[in-house]
Point group: C2
Chain length 163, copies 2
DNA sequence: GCAAAATTTGAAACATTATAACATTTACAG
DNA sequence: CTGTAAATGTTATAATGTTTCAAATTTTGC
């Protein structure tokens, strides 16, 4: 998987999207999972930006497409994409974002800028290690970690209300 | 603040509750905040157990009390309690739980057992430190961390569907 | 190829969680 | 007391997510 641009910085976002879609197709093929037109379209919509998108935002975009969809359509597609590690749900925002580490076995950590709304996904092994240690110190078997950090990205620290 | 029992283990829970209420009164007094009857009652309800309680569960309990409350009443009380560090919202569950470190300046980390539903709140300085490091490596100014770990508590690993 | 089975999608209704807006009451300071 | 701010009541509505069952599509075994 190739290196990704920092969402807080201007970049060729079309490249992000097409890379994500290419990766997704490969991953689904490898897993014998069916990346149907609806699912692919939802993934593409989620990848429109590095800002998390709500399920009903996705629904709205689908409707603009002329696609007459109901909520379950979107939630099912999002479930599928989550299951295959292609999108993440940001619990603190009730919203979804494209996974920038698809295919890698990872525990995501999300830096959420309250200024511009962009989200950066990190893999921080040192954090995962300490989390695992803290859990096992309590005899707890960790299965799923939600780690979301709200704050200000570098750009918004300097100049607020960006992008 | 005194040591707390482990929620996964049987303990005298009434002591938890009354300690929490006593602490809350002291904290509010210190902060010149008004722990009104409604707010105190909501806090007590949240502390009924170590399982997170939804806002509408609280609402239901208030109604059983004979108190004719509407959603905003509960959400306002919960906002107040959160603001003063007396309860936490568990984003991954849309539910609320009493803070076991009220008064201490802390970043909570929650171990959520999917077996029994109990939640243990930890303070893990090593985790906080690594999280802070990971964020500042990206130039990100962290303001608020959500860290929720779903899994199985020691008791439920041995014997499922407990409590 | 073809029929049976499984998966995916459509569609309608509903459930849950949360907030907006404005009126009323209560607490408190002077 | 009385004016002001804080807290609560009340109604309505928004936002998010699920259940259920039917129809269509794809896959599989033959």
């Amino acid at each position: 998987m190739s290196a990704r641009a920092i969402p807080y910085r201007p970049h060729n976002h079309d490249a992000c999207v097409s890379q994500a879609l290419t990766d997704a197709r490969a991953i689904c093929q490898r897993q014998n999972a069916r990346l149907t037109p609806i699912r692919e379209r939802v993934l593409e919509l989620i990848w429109q930006s590095h800002k998390p998108l709500g399920a009903y935002d996705v629904l709205g975009e689908l409707s603009s497409d002329g696609h007459n969809a109901a909520p379950p359509t979107v939630y099912r597609a999002l479930d599928f994409l989550q299951q295959h590690g292609l999108v993440h749900r940001i619990a603190s925002l009730n919203a979804f974002i494209g996974c920038t580490h698809a295919g890698e076995n990872h525990t995501g950590m999300f830096l959420i800028c309250r200024g511009c709304g962009n989200v950066l996904e990190l893999t921080a092994p040192a954090v995962s290690k300490e989390v695992g240690k803290a859990a096992s110190d309590e005899g707890f078997r960790a299965e799923n970690t939600t780690l979301e950090i709200a704050g200000l990205c570098p750009r918004c620290q300097a100049e607020p209300d960006h992008d």
